[in-house]
Amino acid sequence: MKIPFKIVLAGILLAALSFQTRAQDVIQITKQTTHLIPISITGFTGEAESVLEFDLSVLGMEIKEPADYIISGKDDGRVEGSLTRAGMNQPIFLRAYAGGNTRSQAHAFANDIVKELRQTPPIFQTKIAFRVGRGGSSEICVSDYDGYNPVVLTHDNALVEAPSWLPGGRGLLYTSWMNRNTVQIYEHNLATGARKVFAGYPGLNCSAEVSPDGQKVAMILSKSGSPNLYVCDLDGSHLKQLTHTRDEDSCPCWSSDSREICFVCRSGRAVLQKISVNGGQAVPVHVSGVYGNLTAPDWSPDGSKIAFTSGSGNFWICVVPAGGGEAEKLVAGEDPCWAPNSRTLIFTQRRNEKRVLCLLDAPTKHVKDVRQISGSCSEPSWAR
């Protein structure tokens, strides 16, 4: 039976229209992930306003007209506000925040906005640890993720490096030169300030990292005759040597399931390798698209990707799928560390004879400086 032409034409037009609509939806989602979301923030003052602007900028949102989303509210007494999509009458949500102080309330509001617009877990009330260099020595500092409320933890007037968090943020491991002619790993309890030598074997003891499940510590020891990768239990017992080569190893970081360690081996040049926590053969992480030394890896908490540094002097933050593959260069800088959301990175840039900490939104490549304390800040570690 012959179908009337008009109906065929209508059918074609309808199909084309619906296809057009679907395609536009696809473009919209991609654009939102890798492009900055334009927003407006109204009604807030002082700290509440500056916290909201900073936090949302860290997750790739910028104050720009015409805004896609409106954040409005007030902060007299307590922070309260709404998130509304442009053009809609009803807000997506309307909330008030109590307790803590203005900064923490504004951070909580920003967390809720990001959860809605980025579908990522909250990071704005988390902590970082880092090294701050002053003169010829350095100390370990802990602060809010944005650099506020810094507390300098050590006063040894010695060299100290490589802070890394203990489970639950209850303390830190770090590498210290405080005992004459030694390089040892210290364990520092944040609540009591008490500390002890965690690893003080002959030779180098450095670069400790606690596994995500809080059971084990990976570190670099040179007591075998060359810097090699070791693991032990959280109490320091059951030490096991994982690598046994002359080519020195460095920079251990854990897979999200605590079963593998990614690290750097300088065999010829610096390359990324992986090894099981139970030992065995180390295998390369194949990285294409970036060249030169690859160092300072950090495995994302969701297990999907590894951030690292490429280059020698001219450093770049790069990300590669955890199984290997094509790496993407994101921004100039070094020594990246993932936030708990597996999207934000904190890293170091060298500027004007000192080092500063920066935050990177990986999909949009948007960078925000952390609030700086005096001194040269580097080696950030994010409490996860």
Binding site: T182, G225, R266
Partner: protein, 199 residues
């Protein structure tokens, strides 16, 4: 006669060392100090210290294990003097991103080994340093590898590896803060620090 008893002491002490026994042998007579040019079969000067041609620890594929036992450990851990001038001219320099001892540096280490061969009281600290073109943890391991390379070279010249302590500083102690090759090549170094017991 004297040579025969010394030779048998050599055999017995080697056997004891090989068996991992650390007790002072009770059946041996103390070895009197040997003067004059050193002979192949002697070495220890009555202290029970290992003979220079018999390292206490076995080298592994990755290098010579580190331990500071006995007399050298006591010296490193106890009161001692550190002299940075004695071997300043013997600072060993490295190529970028490398830890190999270059031919141009070998003569320095031969001079250093000769000093320790004629000396029985002093020890050595080797500090490993890098230039700024590495990330911090990477430079820490590279600095240590450089210090260990110096230690291995000296051990191959019959210096007791337990007499040599290594410490890495990564890039934290540059000689020259400049951002050019002239500065970088000065920073890629192994510094040799003489350790002497208190007078």
């Amino acid at each position: 006669m004297k040579n025969l008893s010394l030779f048998s002491v050599f055999i017995v002490s080697t056997a004891l060392l090989a068996s991992g026994c650390h007790r002072k042998p009770t059946s041996l007579t103390p070895i009197p100090p040997v003067e004059g040019p050193s002979s192949q079969t002697t070495g220890g000067v009555g202290s029970g210290a290992p003979l220079p041609s018999e390292p206490v620890v076995t080298a592994t594929p990755e290098g010579i294990p580190i331990s500071y036992a006995g007399k050298w450990g006591d010296l490193f851990n106890g009161v001692h003097n550190e002299d940075r001038d004695k071997f300043k001219a013997d600072t060993v320099y490295f190529d970028f991103d490398k830890s190999a001892i270059k031919p141009s540096e070998e003569g320095k280490l031969q001079d250093v080994a000769a000093y320790f061969k004629g000396n029985t009281t002093d020890a050595l600290i080797v500090e490993g340093h890098c230039d700024e073109r590495g990330t911090e943890k990477y430079n820490l391991s590279l600095g240590e590898r450089r210090a260990l390379a110096v230690r291995e070279y000296l051990a191959n010249l019959q210096m007791d590896p337990q007499r040599i302590k290594t410490i890495s500083y990564g890039f934290s102690r540059p000689v020259d803060p400049g951002h050019n090759e002239a500065a970088w090549k000065k920073n890629r170094r192994g510094e040799l620090v003489l350790v002497t017991p208190p007078k």
